[in-house]
Amino acid sequence: MAEPLELPRSIAELYLARVHEVSSMRPIMTGDVFSDIEIPGVEQVDGDERKLAMVVTHPCSMRKGVKMKVKQQMIRVVRSKPVELPAWRSQYFDRLPLPALLQPLDTDEPADEDNGTNDYAALFEFRGRVSTAELLLSRRIACLSEEGVAFLHQRISHADTRYPARISDLMSACSGVFAEAELAQEWNERLIRVDVDDHVALAAALDHEALEFESIIGAQRSYVQGKKTVKSAMREDLADDRKKAHARRELLRLVREREK
């Protein structure tokens, strides 16, 4: 019998950052896990003592311009028994397993570490709208990678519709917005000079740099590519495989100039 869902190559592939790896400089994205989040309309569940919740609003829909929309869709993340990787294909349709969620790797080897501790799962049924003001960067404890978000999307859409889009297609559809988030993080890390523990100053600096970043990435500009003059915004180019590298070089050149 065909198995509907795909499985990650390793646990490490799911995460962009966990616990101390999480950077305050990264914009809030789909797949981010926060602690101490009440989800209106969602009752208490076994294993939710830390009130963990994951942002599931689609990355293309969570912002209006620079600003995040006032509410985000979130699902409850609870402690869960370990799910072996092969079981991802044909079982646990109601959840995204989050193995070793609170256990960052201290090695650069892509390992399949899973000793059963720190295993969590994001439950699709326990879903609601949370005020964006609740999503404090100091409460963010993990960020999913592009692959991780694609696995979230595949499982959540299969749970809702029984149609699993392929992981590679889901990643292609979001590649531009993830490239943008990565560059925004790079921009902030290199240009913001405030103490990250000074939450007020950091929030002000992040807001300021978000506007600066948007003024560059969202603006139409023209440049020569081969024999043609191309007119487009950097944001559009980041979603285009043929223009992404050029846009990235251009933006990083600007960062380097501003660093001086």
């Binding site: 650069d108 292609s172 990565e182 790079e186 043929r242």
Partner: protein, 214 residues
């Protein structure tokens, strides 16, 4: 040609023999043609191996130079000069993004990982030498518009096919041969969906069927 060299009949001789229909001669000719086919097949295989070996030596030479460089300089080159993203580099090198971030800030890197990073830089250098203007774009684009759009050269590189990709970039290997050498089969990899941009800038995944295939 030496005296020991096998003397093969010309096309005209073969054609005349076939027309005359002499059974004994035809069998002899067929045997000779078969032997020639075997010999040329072996020669083709030997030359393919030789070509890959020379490419391997060129790549090794590049790695040897690059592996001595500061990891942070290599990473900076990959992003700022080549235009690759951190996630892309992580996939190409076969590590996690946190590992890359650790190296950027001077964290320890194991010898095999340093080698993998140097290999990526050396590979892109060789691609650029093949008159490919933007190696990062070349790596990130699909192999063919007719195929699954997620099957990029970067996917093949990450799966350990650097030498085959160099031969392909040299135009000495066909797409079919590249796919076969990399363990892919054409029919199973055909396009099934396409990405379409919506009015609000978002992207939708649209299944392709007979009615909407171009």
């Amino acid at each position: 040609m030496t005296d020991n060299a096998v003397k093969y009949p010309s096309r005209t001789t073969i054609s005349n023999t076939i027309k005359s229909g002499i059974p004994g001669e035809l069998t002899q000719l067929s045997d000779q043609a078969g032997k020639l086919r075997d010999a040329s097949g072996m020669l083709k295989l030997d030359v393919e191996i030789l070509h890959l070996e020379t490419l391997s030596m060129m790549l090794d030479e590049g790695i040897e130079q690059r592996v001595r460089e500061d990891v942070r300089i290599l990473l900076s080159e990959l992003t700022e000069v080549r235009g690759l993203g951190w996630s892309e580099i992580a996939r190409l090198v076969g590590v996690s993004v946190p590992a890359i971030r650790k190296w950027r800030t001077g964290g320890d890197i194991s010898a095999p990982r340093r080698h993998a990073l140097a290999k990526l830089c050396a590979f892109l250098d060789l691609i650029e030498m093949r008159k490919i203007a933007d190696p990062a774009v070349w790596l990130g684009t699909p192999l063919s518009i007719e195929l699954d759009q997620s099957l990029t050269k970067a996917v093949l590189y990450a799966e350990g096919n650097a030498l085959h990709l160099l031969a392909y970039a040299d135009d000495h290997m066909s797409l079919l041969h590249l796919l076969s050498a990399s363990g892919y089969e054409m029919p199973e990899q055909q396009r099934r969906v396409e990405m379409t941009r919506n009015y609000d800038g978002s992207v939708s995944i649209v299944p392709l069927n007979e009615s909407n295939v171009e």
